[in-house]
């Protein structure tokens, strides 16, 4: 366990965390501001990936695929909000869970009908391939560095939008008191549609960036959605800052657990016991952390609601 490897694994954790953040930011915005539990967030992640691949094939250009994929997820998100989610705001969370679970099934089947059930090939342009040397002597995939950078830029942009712009102010006001904001003459319906669209675009961005790394197939969003829920519970529901911190914590702890738990246990237990306990414990770590946060700070690290 050299220092170089620890650094490399920290970088891996940070990068994975930023990926989770892109998903979590949209989900936490929608949950915190609109008080809507959106299980179909993973579907928007999936649609982003499929839109980007389809658009890249159609135009023959990766960048055009990214732009159209993002736009597609944004428009689709707004469409879903207007047609399917509006009647659900007054209902309780269980109804929302049921309805958005239905959306998951709908989108998975839709994708299977249009693109087939087989996993799709997501091409990377040559300027995003290859790896860069680390000072540790190892090499790191260049594309992952780009994902890390994009995630941090989005985090900065979101922070600016929410805390420094008029739209952000309205969004925050809408989160605290919906009726009052509406009474002041703000079109809260439109505001919700915009917020949901932005959340969908963030999910789509995560999806289209995950495409070349993960697997693009129907149901791909659900694989990552559970960890995203863990992130927003730890970070505090509704807080973008919480989503960022929670995502990085989950990313780093999950990665470090997978990388170092087994060798560490092996120094204390027998090799075969570490062999058994290591992987099992590593896959539980983030859930244990979530349980601890729920016990000692139920509102999450940055949550304002009780």
């Amino acid at each position: 366990m050299t220092l170089g490897l620890v650094f490399e694994q920290l970088l891996n954790g940070l990068q994975y965390g930023v990926m989770l953040f892109l998903m979590a930011a949209g989900l936490t915005l929608v949950f915190g501001i609109m008080n809507l539990v959106n299980l179909a967030h993973g579907s928007l992640f999936m649609m982003g990936a499929y839109f980007a691949i389809a658009a890249a094939q159609w135009t023959g250009n990766y960048a055009a695929g990214v732009v159209l994929g993002l736009a597609g997820a944004l428009v689709l998100g707004m469409l879903v909000e207007v047609t399917a989610l509006r009647p659900l705001y007054e209902r309780d969370h269980l109804d929302q869970v049921l309805a958005t679970f239905g959306l998951i099934l709908f989108f998975n089947e839709l994708v299977a009908i249009i693109w087939g059930r087989a996993a799709l090939y997501a091409a990377l342009p040559s300027w995003l391939r290859g790896s860069i040397p680390l000072f540790t002597g190892s090499r790191y995939p260049y594309y992952r560095v780009v994902v890390l950078a994009v995630g941090l830029i989005v985090a900065l942009w979101l922070w600016y939008m929410v805390t420094r712009t008029r739209l952000g102010m309205l969004v925050r006001a809408g989160a605290s008191n919906r009726a009052m904001v509406a009474a002041l003459g703000v079109n809260i319906r439109l505001l919700y549609t915009v917020v949901f669209g932005v959340g969908a675009a963030l999910a789509g961005l995560a999806g289209l960036m995950a495409g070349p790394v993960f697997v693009v197939q129907p149901g791909m969003g659900e694989l990552i959605l559970i960890q995203v829920f863990v992130v927003i519970v730890i970070g505090g529901i509704g807080s973008v800052r919480g989503a960022l911190v929670g995502a990085v914590i989950v990313g780093v702890i999950d990665t470090m657990g997978r990388a170092f738990l087994k060798p560490m246990l092996a120094t204390m237990l027998s090799a075969s016991a570490a062999e058994k306990a290591g992987p099992a414990l590593a896959s539980m770590l983030i859930y244990l952390l979530m349980a601890a946060v729920l016990t000692f700070r139920p509102q999450g690290l940055f949550g304002s609601r009780g």
Binding site: E8, A123, G130, R139, V215, K262
Partner: protein, 390 residues
């Protein structure tokens, strides 16, 4: 009198009505269970396509009789599989049940089918208990036992004198079985064994740890979507060109389409390959490409063989579908034009067959699996001695 005549006419009509279906019963009904929905639905699609192609090649007749197919979706769940099988047996009155991808589904469905006095032809699942202590006279497999492919890789790597192998697999029963099969024949140094969470989305941490251990080769088992993720990330980490990767059930004709160049140069062990040179297989691959516009995969090849096996049994008893004993005896002969070439059934009704080392190679724009050498000739599974059948 008139009344009597009418009554007689009715009786005759009724008799005819009942006799009708009895005469039309002169056809073979086959229930084919696989996964047709969800992520596993891709595999089911390839299997069904191959079953249909087998029927085309047989002139839409099985054992010379008309055939009626019933396809059922087990949704990759044992309980749904049992439900589908029971419906086929009771409502559709099928004569045979075939198919099934997953070991856990097969463990649940096989007893239901054989318990009702029908023959079950498994065309993928390779659960070890069904090859060993829980083998059944009425259960045949046209595929393999789970352990055999990793055994072949282990033997090959042992013979090559490869040392310092890094072993990776998902943390569930099949993952453990694959590693156990590999170690049954590989006796060299293993640097580390890593079991990852099932369906884990990211392997970057494991790949960093792997690189820091400086292994000479990697053995991996990552089926389905996990394999696609793993192959992509192995490639993106720059490992594909520097560290040989040996896999089982990871690189196949389905995953190649999703990873393309990231599969090139990866090794895989198997009993069948599209480039296997025998007339039946060459016809199968050519016709499959013509009919469906894609390369077939081993899941399909063994489903094709399953239909041929049923055909041989029905022929042997001359269409007397009540003669289960006769059909079992006929099936044991494995007297079919198998796509893998000639093979025999072991006492446990699992094939004794060759296993090959394959490598994904690029010719022009196509990436295909090519046989590099024969690792095992007439290989038996490790469990047949525990099976009481003679």
């Amino acid at each position: 009198m008139a009344m009597l005549r009418t009554a007689l006419a009715f009786a005759a009509a009724a008799a005819l009505a009942f006799a009708g279906p009895a005469a039309a019963q002169q056809k073979v009904k086959i229930g084919f269970i696989s996964t047709f929905s969800g992520p596993g639905g891709v595999i089911g699609g390839y299997m069904k396509d191959s079953v249909e192609l087998a029927l085309d090649h047989l002139g839409r007749k099985v054992g010379g009789m008309e055939v009626e197919m019933f396809y059922g979706d087990d949704q990759q769940k044992p309980d749904v599989g049992v439900q589908v099988a029971e419906e086929m047996l009771k409502k559709n009155q099928v004569d045979f049940v075939a198919g099934i991808i997953w070991s856990n589904v097969m463990m649940a469905v096989m007893p239901v089918v054989t318990g009702s006095g029908h023959i079950m032809v498994g065309t993928n699942a390779g659960a070890s208990p069904l090859a060993g202590a829980q083998c059944n006279e009425m259960y045949f497999s046209t595929s393999w036992n789970n352990d055999q492919s990793p055994e072949a890789l282990g033997k090959f790597m042992q013979e090559q004198g490869i040392n310092d192998v890094y072993v990776m697999a998902p943390n569930y029963q099949a993952g453990k079985d694959m590693v156990a099969g590999f170690k049954r024949y590989f006796k060299g140094r293993i640097v580390d064994e890593v079991f990852t969470t099932v369906n884990q989305p990211d392997y970057q941490a494991e790949l960093s740890a792997l690189r820091s251990k400086n292994p000479k080769a990697v053995f991996a088992f990552y089926p389905g979507g996990m394999g696609i993720t793993f192959l992509r990330q192995y490639d993106q980490a720059g490992l594909r060109d520097t560290l040989p990767l040996y896999t089982v059930f990871t690189v196949d004709e389905i995953s190649i389409g999703a990873v393309k160049d990231a599969a090139v140069g990866i090794y895989e062990a198997r009993y069948w390959s599209p480039d296997l040179k025998n007339p039946a297989n060459q016809k199968y691959v050519a016709d499959y490409k013509k009919k469906y516009g894609k390369t077939p995969v081993f899941y399909g090849a063994q489903s094709y063989d399953g239909i041929l096996l049923i055909d041989s049994a029905v022929k042997a008893v001359k269409g007397n579908l009540k003669d289960t004993k006769g059909m079992v005896a006929a099936m044991r002969k494995a007297d079919i034009n198998s796509l893998r070439g000639p093979f025999k059934f072991n006492n446990n009704h699992h094939p004794i067959q060759n296993f090959y080392l394959l490598r994904a190679e690029k010719t022009g724009n196509d990436i295909e699996m090519h046989i590099k050498r024969t690792v095992f000739e007439n290989h038996q599974d490790a469990y047949h001695e525990q099976c009481k059948l003679k």
